[in-house]
Symmetry: D2
Subunit: 116 residues, 4 copies
């Protein structure tokens, strides 16, 4: 069985893929960013080993993405920054999604065992 | 081109299918029902012709659906009641999803033209 | 209770919203368009009153949307054309999603009662 | 920056969360299991570092889950087995989702560096 640090990283990845593919495509406008941020964070925090999730949807980027008179766009990775902390059997994994070279990237930021 | 009343009903159906398949599968527990209700309503209200959406997730049914020590379940139609009002060129369509014979049913409740 | 023609249009809308929000966001490349088209059509044809669904994902548009060296993009309405036929108690509703003015639009094309 | 093995496990988790939350909720019946399996596998194989995905939806469990005269159910983890192989900079991670104690569990099966 893989070591605990690797299990923690696997769990951290699951949460990121879940958050992204559950909510990508959600209709969003500057009027509904706050409620969507909260719901996304609280939904994923329900998952096992998920200690905290912070979602920040960028109102300006949402406004810019609305190029039609409909008044809304669909949520994609380029409209938000996400940070998570996963705690798995004494190991903490911190992850982050942010824009890099114009593309949203999910990153494993740091992995630490308790006591380190 | 089909009459305005039929267009209104088509639009009303789109919103229901959207709401359901965007959010079904979301991890939910009694701690996160309120934020999910709000986000679902505000997200779908962004869509064209969608005047109002009310989502009520049933905390007791959510608690009952949690049959594992994980502490959460996934959102399905049997855990919520939804009401919507669509306004399309003078026609108002009211719709509702609720349990009937143990199964969640999406219903077209009433269609009215302005002045009626 | 609203007339059968309106119920048919409501059902037609549900199928469209379902198809869109279930599959929007799916990773897609020119290598996986055919399997995704088939799965989308067969999945939605399971729904009640849904007689036929045809999904055509445009390989050229998919290739153009891949602007990163990842080699894939996420499915959106602008990459596909969809046609459906719904049959509800003797009424047939035909619907279509296609690009119009650079934006994907879901349309109720025609509604006919049997014998018409 | 975390070591390559941990990055590989993070990537492996992302693919699992993506697959699950993109496709959970899809209408499915014994007639549409094969096309859905293929589309799920090919969609996720588009993602970076994803070498292979195998999805097996269990026709008997699908049939058992159809408890309504609608003739279909919605895809959940309890209806399928999934295996993936992720290759990240010389590290291979194998993962699997299967039923355990009546609950679908995503597991990191093995992690190996090239040459091992």
């Amino acid at each position: 069985m893989p070591p605990t640090t690797e299990q923690a990283c696997f769990e951290a990845g699951i949460k990121f893929g879940s958050l992204y593919h559950q909510f990508a495509g959600t209709p969003v406008s500057p009027d509904s960013t706050r409620s969507l941020e909260t719901a996304m964070a609280e939904a994923i925090e329900n998952q096992p080993f998920c200690e905290s999730v912070a979602v920040a949807i960028d109102d300006d980027r949402v406004a810019d993405a609305i190029d039609h008179d409909n008044g809304y766009t669909e949520l994609t990775g380029s409209l938000m920054t996400v940070e998570m902390r996963i705690a798995y059997e004494g190991v903490t994994a911190r992850t982050r999604m942010e824009m890099e070279d114009g593309y949203p990237l999910m990153k494993l930021v740091a992995v630490a065992e308790a006591g380190e």
